[in-house]
Symmetry: C2
Subunit: 241 residues, 2 copies
DNA sequence: CGGATTAAGTTGTAGGATGATATGTATCAC
DNA sequence: GTGATACATATCATCCTACAACTTAATCCG
């Protein structure tokens, strides 16, 4: 009867695992908004862990706006609109369908980011964008460092928009994608693809230098579509869902 | 010497308050990436709370990818790119500058959402969008319920894109904005503004019915700009940052 | 000097106790 | 009979103690 979290997977701390389990229950509809969670003691018994562990897990879910705990009553599931944070389930990204959709979101954000950056960038922005470009096209282009530089390039563009929210969102989305395709990129960097990738970045940079929002947007869009293609992801067209 | 969190504010649980304090230290640069946090015992002494409270706070920060804890060594601040969640500081939204930027991000997301929805929606989507529209233009238009319906209208459009990430992000951004301007809307709903607002929604809906992405995008953009204006927020133009 | 062992420091988990809050039920007063 | 009050119960919130597990540094021994 004591599962001791044997079926939950990962090697993380117990609170993290309990939180992940409960989170899945909520996201999957097993626990609907308004539903009351088992008491802390019951969860403690169920998972074969101390109540402290359960409380740490519940603290995490509370911080995310997934549940609310009321003293003397219990903990209740909140509606999705009450969320206090956005998270992306990396497990879900193993499904190509989901990866396509995340790339689509990334394309929306980055195309506009590039346009805004072209309109708003200063010389200091161009300098840092160029530095990242140089780094990703230099000696590191065959190593993991080039991925860092690649993402830095994108973050610097987002920073040039002068909108920290855009920067935060783009950074987050890029990192989630990066963690999901990390292995594939490292395994076999193809010579031609790397050069094409760099070429696309150069075109984005040139549009930024020219201060041409439309050109920057188009170049970035083409790049994201191309980048997705290179990892086997086809962006859905407007007509496809 | 025991602050007992007297200067931290809010009436929330102690772990939440400790987490908020540490989070601010990290975001403000007081604690840089790579920096080691005080030990759990030190934090416990500093804030005058039990170690359990500190651990719950740390569990929250770990879940957010803000810190990593290593057994036997301590807890360390991670780089912003390692974040596992996006959060928006509601306190920061009291600054009009930040609100402008968040509205700008919202405009980016929603304009594209409307375009995609126009291209991809089915009859069931139109039905639920219409239902939300009816609700916000009916008897509830002068009450808080109209805000719920308003946001539901936007979420249903995002749902029609068939991209759950778009839906999640839009829902989140809308709710953060909503919580920050909640009081202002309730205090004094102006007759003309409500009618204008509904009119804008009707135009968006009509573009969706017509399956016209460009018209939907334009109508949504105009609406978001207008909605921001109605709460005293001017969206930055492309040239402004 | 190098390897093994021990000690110290820190996080991770368990278990117990008490305080605080919310709700339901029983009792009392009018 | 109805409303107010008191009490009991359930549950979360916090505190405390103890030990396990891990990491690093110090010490010991060949």
């Amino acid at each position: 009867m004591k599962q001791r979290l044997a079926a939950i997977g990962t090697v993380e701390t117990l609170p993290h695992r309990v939180a992940a389990f409960l989170s899945r229950e909520i996201e999957s509809g097993e626990l609907n908004p308004g539903a009351r969670l088992p008491t802390e003691q019951e969860l403690s018994d169920k998972f074969g862990v101390s109540r402290n562990v359960v409380r740490e897990a519940i603290a995490q879910l509370r911080a995310d706006g997934m549940i609310e705990a009321r003293q003397g009553i219990g903990a209740f599931v909140l509606a999705p609109e009450q969320r206090a944070a956005i998270r992306i389930d990396r497990e879900a990204l193993k499904d190509t369908h989901n990866m396509e959709r995340l790339f689509e979101l990334r394309c929306i954000l980055e195309a506009e980011s590039a346009a805004l950056a072209a309109a708003r960038r200063g010389q200091e922005h161009l300098d840092s964008i160029k530095a990242a470009l140089d780094r990703m096209s230099g000696e590191e282009r065959w190593e993991e460092g080039s991925i860092d530089a690649d993402l830095l390039f994108h973050r610097e563009i987002a920073r040039a928009t002068g909108n920290s929210y855009i920067h935060t969102f783009i950074s987050f989305v890029c990192e989630q994608i990066r963690h999901s395709i990390h292995y594939a990129r490292l395994t076999n960097p193809l010579h031609d693809l790397v050069e094409v990738n760099v070429g696309e970045h150069v075109r984005i940079y040139e549009a930024l230098v020219a201060g041409d929002p439309a050109a920057a947007e188009a170049a970035m869009r083409a790049h994201i579509v191309g980048a997705a293609d290179r990892v086997g992801v086809k962006l859905p067209l407007r007509g496809a869902k």
